[in-house]
């Protein structure tokens, strides 16, 4: 592996580990996984129009995120329900627009064909997402515990939620080409779920989640090369194995 690919893998894993912490704590694990699938129709459309599929996926995710946020704030329907509907629609639209092989690539990722600008976007985007989560962590914590406490502390809660959803969607977009739609959602959720089980405070949660995400990514890449398997599924298998292995571990008092 060369240095740019290494930087890309680690950057993506760090961003996914951090942004996933709040997805898991906000009990939107399944919702955020489903949200990642919203990229599909954009990818399908971009392929049909001979555009870069990552741009298509990014556009679809941005629109999907605004749509989900808008519905949630205009009606009293929960995020989970809204995303469930939008996700199914996106999957249907995506399969209508893309051919079988392209769809498999989009779902499971096709690494090894990253252009220089894609790598630059990946590293830059990962830095932006990580910086967002780390600098906004206190606002996110207050909004998580009580929206009313957050509001009376001067936080614009609706705007913060939109920014968080966009950061999540951006993380998924960055991993699209690399891990695919299906697996990028998992790389944000599984390490964070492991951390939620093991950690007792926020710093511990961040540390465990990032460590699991980076370890799964690097170990997964090495194992994939060794066994001649596609990278994405091996990464997620490693992450899931770490999660399952830590289940019997109890948090010490």
């Amino acid at each position: 592996m060369n240095w740019t690919a290494f930087a890309m893998s680690v950057g993506l894993a760090v961003a996914a580990g951090l942004v996933g912490c709040f997805a898991v704590m906000r009990r939107m694990a399944l919702a955020s996984d489903a949200l990642s699938h919203v990229a599909l129709p954009g990818i399908g459309l971009a392929l049909a129009l001979h555009l870069n599929p990552v741009l298509g996926g990014m556009a679809a995710l941005a629109i999907g995120t605004l749509f989900v946020w808008g519905i949630e704030h205009r009606t009293r329907i929960s995020t989970e329900t809204v995303i469930g509907v939008v996700f199914s629609l996106a999957l249907a639209a995506g399969s209508m627009l893309a051919s079988g092989e392209e769809l498999v690539d989009a779902l499971l990722g096709a690494p090894g064909r990253l252009g220089p600008w894609e790598t630059a976007l990946g590293v830059g985007g990962s830095l932006a997402v990580s910086a967002f989560v780390l600098t906004q962590r206190n606002r996110l914590v207050l909004a998580l515990v009580s929206e009313d406490v957050a509001r009376t502390s001067g936080i614009r809660v609706a705007r913060l939620e939109l920014l968080y959803l966009l950061a999540f969607a951006l993380t998924v977009t960055l991993g699209l080409r690399y891990l695919g739609v299906l697996l990028m959602g998992s790389l944000t959720i599984i390490p964070a779920a492991t951390a939620k089980h093991l950690a007792r405070n926020l710093a511990g949660m961040f540390a465990v989640s990032v460590a699991v995400a980076v370890f799964a990514t690097l170990a997964g890449e090495a194992l994939a090369v060794h066994f001649h398997r596609p990278t994405g599924p091996v990464i997620i298998a490693v992450a899931a194995a770490v999660f399952l292995a830590t289940l019997p571990v109890r948090r010490t008092a």
Partner: protein
């Protein structure tokens, strides 16, 4: 700093409705700076809705005017917190301190004011007892030097000795810091002891006045739809 004779809050013709269901209608009252207002009434009469409208969390009609420069400390009703949430009490207090631009020493001072042991503050918030969690929320509300404290049923989920201690803590802080206090409570004896004015929501028109006028047996029966004592611990 507000002068004692000024109003901390003025509410005029406040109406809150969800769709066609009117929760609060044409409500008007004032809260003097440094005084304590207790809001009483049966479950479902709109006490929490009133508080959330006052802080701008719910759309409403009518006037809600806080004194210029008001800083609100909000203690919400018991929260639905997952037991295994990896957030410690310290994380929560540090978050509040950071967001309102207070130093870490203010979080320590707040912990001491509510007499929450440091060991308890280091534990995950989902693992705290009802009383400890309420005191943690109170400590968070005190960070940032609020001029007004809003309490939504501070003793829900707290046993009786803990309840008495919590009210004593609240009262002591209110007096020593000269805070304005808005309090939702079912504990009529506490309301009688500590409140400057009482706002009754519930059946019939809302009524507002000092406790000795508001907490008569006839008035209580009118508000709760049952004689005094029956809803005492409701």
């Amino acid at each position: 700093m507000a002068v004692l004779s000024q109003n901390a809050l003025e509410v005029a013709r406040l109406t809150v409705a969800f769709g066609k269901t009117v929760i609060l209608e044409d409500l008007s009252f004032e809260v003097r700076a440094g005084s304590a207002l207790a809001v009483i009434g049966p479950n479902g009469c709109g006490k929490t809705v009133l508080f959330r409208a006052l802080i701008g969390s719910l759309p409403h009609q009518g006037l809600v005017r806080w004194a210029p420069g008001t800083r609100i400390g909000y203690v919400p009703q018991k929260l639905d917190i997952e037991r295994d949430l990896p957030l410690s009490g310290r994380d929560f207090l540090a978050a509040k301190a950071s967001v309102v631009g207070a130093g870490p020493e203010e979080a320590l001072r707040a912990l001491e004011a509510v007499t929450l042991p440091h060991g308890a503050a280091a534990r995950p918030i989902g693992a705290l007892s009802g009383g400890q969690f309420q005191r943690l929320l109170l400590a968070a509300a005190l960070i940032g030097r609020p001029s007004v404290l809003l309490f939504d049923e501070p003793t829900a989920g707290v046993d009786e000795p803990g309840e008495e201690r919590l009210y004593q803590v609240i009262h002591r802080i209110q007096v020593s810091e000269g805070l304005t206090l808005l309090l939702i409570s079912h504990e009529l004896n506490v309301v009688y002891r500590y409140a400057t004015n009482v706002l009754c929501l519930g059946q019939g028109r809302p009524c507002f006045g000092p406790p000795e006028e508001m907490l008569t047996p006839e008035r209580i029966e009118q508000v709760y739809g049952a004689p005094l004592g029956y809803h005492h611990h409701g």
